[in-house]
Amino acid sequence: MSEAKKYNAPVTNPESAPFWEAAKAGEFMIKRCTTCGEAHYFPRAICPFCFSDKTVWEESSGEATVYTYSLMRKSPTGPYAIAYVTLKEGPSLQTNIVDCDLETVKIGQKVKVVWKPTDGAPLPFFTPA
């Protein structure tokens, strides 16, 4: 395991602030549109599918599967695994797979959300479930 990496605090804005407030309580939020029923991530005020402004916050299970990944081996801060994971609720998102042997990451692997601290709100990462 690598030493704790330092991450910059999210800047946040009025549109994303509720996400980061929930993050401080350990809740991983997504947005769902009540017009078309689709969930999306990262969260927007207006649904990126049907363009309705009737989007609501919803807590995700934080359970996901690895869609794809790449282990970056040449990095000044040490190797890391970037990935897209697909949430149980549907949306896929970019993240890092952390707190595991990075050589064992694979497509289809079950992962779950884990939070990493910053000077502000924590950031969501994923780790083998």
Partner: protein, 385 residues
């Protein structure tokens, strides 16, 4: 309305440098502009349209001023910024402007020095807080595409390596190529893993330099001395994760830009004699060949193997200058050099060892941004007139 046959590429210039610590970025823009204007047989005062992208220091107005373009005459300006494919989009937009009578001699420039000094950070959008921490770079964003392509279609590292092998066969004849050595599949597989599954030799070069072109009306082009090359089809498109729905990293926005260009041109992939395909990484080429319809989705691995992209050997000669993988990828933006080599092929000015016989129809295609994250794509179909 169509741009088919409404605009000709009358002047081209690729800066011979690959490392320019002794020059400024603005100076490189001026040098490539001068080269393209002279290649066309025109003068700076003929320019009435100017196009540049994010690599131009200070953006469009400072470049217009620095170059000393004739501002009494300059009547069309465009700073469309779509990363490495900006110049392919500029070509399409220049044709639109010319067809609409908004300008008659357009200059497009690209230049910069990423090998000499660090590049400014990419501008980020609304996704910044939700993505920046995860360290997406070109290498791992394209690595994620390759990883999923291998998972879904059984594509192999050996097949990807053939793309680099083909580029290296061409680069040996380009005196300006940064990497002139012919490499083998084994050489690629034995090069260090950078970001799985991409090895060092799956990655393009980083070079200082640049390029420029002159786009003009049929009448002006015909009054000049160069062989006639015209744009007959153009497409542009953009793609991103769009809220994370139905994420599929195995295809690019080329699935939309390609058919638009082919439809306008009235030709099909099997008509193409030469292909300039953006090659930031080997996987970039493979995915785009599929997306453009040179083979079915998932069959790119088989298509590129066994030298099929080598001029004089395979069915689809590609990147006969050595491409970004071996020759030049100025400012980490390969769209301009893709156009320039396609024009050389259509003019019959490519190196004799790689010149495609009777090359009358070519494609130049590229992407900009990160294929695995957000990107644009543009396709240009060019014809010898």
């Amino acid at each position: 309305m169509t741009i088919k046959g409404k605009a000709y590429i009358a002047g081209i210039y690729e800066h011979p440098t690959r490392h320019a610590p002794d020059k400024s970025t603005a100076q490189l823009h001026a040098e490539v502009a001068k080269g393209a204007i002279e290649d066309a047989g025109l003068t700076k005062d003929d320019i009435d349209g100017y196009f540049c992208a994010g690599d131009a220091p200070g953006g469009l107005w400072p470049m217009v001023d620095y170059l000393g373009l004739n501002t009494k005459k300059l009547r069309h300006i465009d700073s469309t910024e779509t990363g490495g494919c900006s110049y392919l989009i500029h070509l399409g937009h220049a044709a639109e402007a010319i067809a609409a009578g908004k300008c008659s001699v357009a200059l497009v420039t690209l230049a910069g020095k990423p090998r000499t000094g660090p590049m400014p950070p990419r501008a980020s959008g609304a996704e910044a807080d939700f993505e920046l921490a995860y360290g997406a770079t070109t290498h791992n964003a394209y690595g994620m595409c390759a990883m999923r392509h291998m998972h879904d279609y059984g594509t192999t590292s050996e097949q990807l390596a053939w793309i680099k092998v083909a580029a290296s066969h061409h680069a040996q004849y380009n005196p300006h190529a940064m990497l002139k050595e012919v490499v083998t599949v084994e050489d690629v597989l034995n090069s260090p893993m950078i970001s799985d599954p991409l090895h060092r030799m799956d990655c393009c070069v980083v070079t200082d330099g640049g390029g420029a072109m002159i786009v003009t009306t049929p009448e002006i082009a015909k009054s000049l001395k160069k062989p006639l090359v015209r744009l007959i089809g153009h497409g542009e498109a953009a793609k991103g994760p769009r809220g994370g729905k139905d994420l599929d990293l195995t295809y690019s926005a080329g699935v939309w830009s390609g058919p638009r260009a082919f439809e306008e041109a009235g030709v099909t992939p099997k008509d193409i004699k030469y292909a300039s395909i953006y090659d930031s990484f080997t996987i970039t080429v493979l995915m785009q060949l599929e997306d453009l319809g040179f083979c079915k989705k998932g069959e790119g691995g088989k298509f590129v193997a066994d030298g099929n992209l080598i001029s004089g050997v395979g069915k689809l000669p590609f990147n006969t200058d050595g491409g970004g993988l071996c020759s030049n990828h100025p400012v980490n933006r390969g769209g301009m050099t893709k156009i320039l080599e396609a024009v050389r092929q259509l003019r019959g000015e490519a190196h004799p060892k790689v010149q495609v016989k009777n090359c009358d129809l070519a494609i130049a295609h590229g992407t900009g941004g990160l294929l695995g994250v957000r990107h644009a794509a543009s396709t240009c179909i060019l014809e010898r007139a």
